[in-house]
Point group: C2
Chain length 353, copies 2
DNA sequence: CTCTTACATATGAACGATCAAATGGGTAGA
DNA sequence: TCTACCCATTTGATCGTTCATATGTAAGAG
C-alpha cells in the first residue's frame, strides 16, 4: 500500500461515506444513520462511527445530498447596485444579518447582482430551473413589482423584506418596519425636547415608503396638538435636495425648530442648510433622519436616526423561508416591526424654557 | 394522460434530461451531447433537441451535474463586518464586481460572514469538506495572515485581492493596487495645481498598506523637489483622528497648502479641521483621500480621491481563480494595478497666486 | 423449547446528470 | 456485391448520498 497523501498540486481527496464505513467496520448505510437518525443505532456503534467520522474528517458531500434530497440548503439574495445616495443604504447590514441567520439554520446565501426587476427575475428563473437554490429573500418592494407574482405562480418559496404595495397582489409572506411608527417616535422624542414646530422633509407623494413615514408625523402632530400647516416639504431623495427643502422651511416666517426627515440623506442635507444659516444643529435646530445608515455616524454633529431591527428581521425572514421550503403548503405570514430612535448629537440637547 | 400542471401549493416539477429525450425522440445521452458537445450531433437532430429543450424550459440539474463533475461552479467570499469607519469601505463595490464577473464566467458566489480569520478558516474548512464551493476569493490580506497558508496546504484554489505582506508565505496568485503609485499621482495632481507644501496624513508605521501609500508621497516629493520635513503625521484610521492630525499640520509654523490622506475617513477628518480654522477646502487648502469610497461624494465639498479599479480587479480575480480550478497545477500569477485620481471639489481650484 | 416482537444493521434502488465505450446505419472503395 | 470505415447515436457504469425495505439476532412471552 502506497502513501495516499495528496500529490502536490492536486486537491486533497475528500473521504466518502464508504471510506468511513470501512474504517468503522459497518455498512455505509449505518454511517448515514449515525448522522441522520442517531437514535437507530446502538450507542456503542454510534460512538465508533462518530469516531471514524472525526478521524477521517468526513463531511457528507453536498452535491450528493442535494441530488438525493432535491434541496440545496442555499438561498438566493440580490445585492443591489447602491447607486447615488447609496451611502445611506442599509443593504450591506441586511446582507450581513441574512448570512449570519442563514448560517445558524444551516443554510448558505448565494448573492447575485441584477440590473433591474426583469433581470432579477431572469436570475430567479435560471437559479430555480437549475435547482441551484431553495428559495429567495427579496427586498425593496415597490408598487409595480412583478417579482412576487412571478415567484408565486411558480410556487417558489420566498419571503419579502418590505410589504406589498399593490392591492391586487396575491398573498405571500413578508416582514416590514412600520415607517409611520418610526416618525411618530421621532416626533415624540422631539416633543420631549420641548420642540413644538416640527417640520417634515419627505419624498414626493405616491412614494409608498415615503407616505408611510409621513403618516406617523401626521399622527403625532395631531396627538400632541402641534402645528401642521406649511411644515411638510417634499422632493426626491438626496443630500442636495434635502438642503433645498430644509432651506425652504427654515427661511419661512415661522421656521420649525426641529426637522424629521424621511431618510438620512435628506437629514444630512437639512443639516447643511441649517449650518449655512449659521444655526448650530443640536442646539438651535434638531434633525432626525431615518434608517440609521453609516452616514449617520460620520457627519458632524452625528445624526439622530431611526434604526430598523435588521438582525431580527433577517432572522425572521430566514425562519419563515425555511418553513416555506420545508412545507410549501404553509400559509403566508406577515409581520410589522418597530424601529428605534437612536439619539445622537443632532437632537441631543434639550431646549429648556 | 392527465394534465401535469403543478398542483397549487406544490412546486413546479423541473423537467429532466430524460423528459427532453422523450420529447425529442432521442436517447438522453444525445441530449447531454447536444448541450456539452454539440459538434457530435447531426445539425438536424441538434436543432430538434434544442427545440425540445426550449419548449420544456429544460436546465440541467445543478446537483446532478455537481455530483458527476465534482464541481459546483460556486465561489466563496467573506463579506466582512464593516464596523467603525466602515462607511469608507469598498467591500460592497467589490462584492458587486465579483458577482458580475462570476456570472459572466458561469459561476455563482456564496457569501458568508465570519468573526475573524480563524472563523473564516472554519468556514473554508466546512465549505470545502462538504464540496460546496470550488474556490475562494480573499480580500484584506494582512501581515500575520493564516489564511493563504491554510488554503495552500490543502490545495484549495483561491486568489487574494491584496498582496501577501509576509516574506515567508508560500507563493500564490494575488492582485493588488499600487498604493504608492496612487499617492504619487495625488501629489502630481496637486503640484499641477501649484501646490508645493504637501502634507501626508498616514497610518502608524508598520501598517503594510499605510507604508505602501506613504512611499508614493515620498517618491513624489523627492522627484518634484518638495519639502518633506515635518509634513508627515500618523494615527489610527478614523474621521476624528484625521481631524486631530490635520490640525497638527495646519497649526504649524509653515502649514501645508494641500493634504494627501491615506484614507477617505482621514481626509474627511482633515476637511473638518480645515473648516474649523475657517479655511475653505478646495480654495485655501486642498485635500485628497484614498479609495473613492461612498463617503467621498457625500461630504461637502466633495472629496478628490484615488479610485481602485475594482471592476477589473474582480474580473481578473475570477479569471485567475477559474484557471486554478480547471488546472490546479497552474502556477501562481500576480499583478499590480494602478489607481486613478478622481478630481472633485476638494482639490479642483488651481491656486494661481 | 418454540414463536413472536423489537431492535440493530444491511441491501437495493433511486436522485439526474456525464464519461467511456459499444452499437448501428450509411457511404465509399475495391 | 462485399468489406471497411466513419459518423451519429445509444448503452452501461458511475458520482455519493438518502429513502424504503429486507435481513438477522437477541430477548421475552407462551
Amino acid at each position: 500500500m502506497t502513501s495516499e497523501l495528496p500529490a502536490s498540486g492536486e486537491q486533497a481527496v475528500r473521504p466518502t461515506i464508504k471510506a468511513v464505513a470501512r474504517h468503522a467496520e459497518v455498512s455505509y448505510q449505518t454511517v448515514s444513520n449515525a448522522l441522520n437518525a442517531p437514535d437507530r443505532l446502538k450507542p456503542a456503534t454510534l460512538a465508533r462511527v462518530l469516531k471514524s467520522v472525526e478521524e477521517l474528517g468526513y463531511q457528507p458531500s453536498q452535491a450528493a445530498r442535494n441530488l438525493r434530497t432535491q434541496r440545496t440548503r442555499l438561498i438566493g439574495f440580490r445585492f443591489e447596485q447602491t447607486a447615488g445616495a447609496g451611502i445611506a443604504s442599509i443593504e450591506d447590514r441586511f446582507l450581513h444579518a441574512v448570512c449570519a441567520a442563514a448560517r445558524d439554520r444551516g443554510y448558505g446565501v448565494i448573492v447575485f447582482s441584477a440590473e433591474d426587476d426583469d433581470d432579477e427575475i431572469a436570475m430567479y428563473s435560471d437559479l430555480t430551473r437549475r435547482g441551484a437554490v431553495d428559495g429567495f429573500i427579496l427586498m425593496n418592494s415597490h408598487r409595480v413589482d412583478p417579482r412576487p407574482a412571478w415567484l408565486i405562480e411558480r410556487c417558489i418559496p420566498f419571503v419579502c423584506f418590505g410589504r406589498p404595495w399593490q392591492r391586487t397582489s396575491r398573498v405571500h409572506s413578508w416582514l416590514d418596519v412600520d415607517g409611520g411608527s418610526g416618525t411618530y417616535l421621532a416626533v415624540r422624542h422631539l416633543v420631549e425636547g420641548r420642540h413644538r414646530r416640527i417640520g417634515f422633509i419627505g419624498w414626493p407623494e405616491g412614494s409608498e415608503v415615503g407616505d408611510d413615514r409621513h403618516s406617523g408625523w401626521l399622527a403625532a402632530t395631531t396627538e400632541f396638538g402641534l402645528p401642521k400647516r406649511g411644515l411638510t416639504v417634499r422632493g426626491l431623495d438626496g443630500i442636495a435636495v434635502g438642503t433645498q427643502l430644509a432651506e425652504q422651511l427654515l427661511s419661512s416666517a415661522k421656521p420649525p425648530s426641529a426637522l424629521v426627515c424621511v431618510s438620512d440623506a435628506m437629514a444630512v442635507g437639512a443639516m447643511h442648510a441649517a449650518q449655512q444659516r449659521g444655526l448650530v444643529v443640536g442646539r438651535d435646530v434638531a434633525v432626525v433622519g431615518f434608517d440609521d445608515s453609516p452616514l449617520a455616524t460620520v457627519v458632524k454633529p452625528t445624526l439622530t436616526s431611526l434604526r430598523q431591527p435588521l438582525e431580527s428581521i433577517a432572522q425572521k425572514c430566514i425562519d419563515l423561508l425555511v418553513g416555506h421550503i420545508d412545507d410549501p403548503a404553509k400559509r403566508a405570514v406577515t409581520s410589522v416591526m418597530e424601529p428605534t430612535v437612536i439619539v445622537r448629537e443632532s437632537s441631543a440637547v434639550i431646549t429648556d424654557d
